[in-house]
Assembly symmetry: C2
Homo-oligomer: 247 residues x 2
Amino acid sequence: MEQNRVGHYKFVAEPFHVDFTGRLTMGVLGNHLLNCAGFHATERGFGMASLNEANYTWVLSRLAVELEDMPRQYEDFSIQTWVENVYRLFTDRNFAILDKKGNTIGYARSVWAMINMNTRKPADLLSLHGGGITDYICQKECPIDKPSRIKVDDCEPDAVYNAKYSDIDINGHVNSIKYIEHVLDLFPINMYKEKRIKRFEVAYVAESYYGDILSFYKQEINENEFHIEVKKNSGEVVCRSKMIFIN
Amino acid sequence: MEQNRVGHYKFVAEPFHVDFTGRLTMGVLGNHLLNCAGFHATERGFGMASLNEANYTWVLSRLAVELEDMPRQYEDFSIQTWVENVYRLFTDRNFAILDKKGNTIGYARSVWAMINMNTRKPADLLSLHGGGITDYICQKECPIDKPSRIKVDDCEPDAVYNAKYSDIDINGHVNSIKYIEHVLDLFPINMYKEKRIKRFEVAYVAESYYGDILSFYKQEINENEFHIEVKKNSGEVVCRSKMIFIN
């Protein structure tokens, strides 16, 4: 039973999904993690499709990824995912990232809410499906820190970006993965030559839309740690991110 | 034997790979097509990995895609690919795109060269592997026009873009799929609300690199047809594209 609680999905690092170093990009890894969350939930009856019928949908609130390594071009890798906790308004879903040999090279933590698509109000996870989600809570270890609070003081934007066609998902929002890509693009390529990302965090605060002007504020905490805040138009925060590099 | 010459690969339209209409984006379809080319070549002994060992690599020259429909979010679809012709310096590879029921919803044509990675000079495809590639030539029909010549007169750029970390592939070049995404982003979202892409073409002329300033020149031929030219820095053309919409 404990085994069935963990979903396990296989991937290969495609050529257009790796960066100039030949390693999978954080955006693509994020996409795979969120897909695995979807596969795992769907297989257990609480995925997007069945929820949509009942007018509910999952909303990603936070994602934190910590890695010792990244799959290289053409390498097989896999992702495990499981539910760590279910609260009334949030659920914690964790991930392990395994290399081609099956060695764990990283972990991720995510926090999700469920909302009613008509009222946009959060749903009570403990009452949904008669509390059935809690049957899948699993004690597998995830030895990385929880997503942290991210605070940005900087007041000059490092980049300004106009949300375009390719940024927009089926809900009409800038999609969660595109924010990650735009945050990665705030750093010069030399940063990725000399260092790699040890930990990446993103917290989704509000939605942004086609045509929104997104301002990216990047604060250097030290030579390896950066906090980023993304604001739209008049100044509302849409997401925050933290990047920790390692030499 | 004729059957074995056609590669057939299955996919699903992932949530972050569909646009606001819920249909797969042309960039993601392009990525799948190029991956299929890679799978097909690798399985038959003339893929990137075996070529790289011999210091040769495939270079995509042209891609033309024509579609009646696009897969929707979560839908299964599949891609067939085969070699139509092999010349001394180029090979024509075609594709069929099939929906979840196995009905063909579109075709694509691509033109590839092979280069020596040390000299950057084209290789003779007919002599490579003792001409083994020609064994895979296949007569399957591909009832769409060949990639056409694209000419752009317009002299004011519609968009200027600075190539960033996420654009760059393992060879240090702006990757073929990113050009497609940037071209799609030249059009306002209303265009994709009212119309869909019937035919998409791209011709890759030269490489561009991190930090290059890419200028996108878009010429309206008529309300449904647009020709695009992308130039870098001092004005060298890096790629051309054609978009034909249908209501």
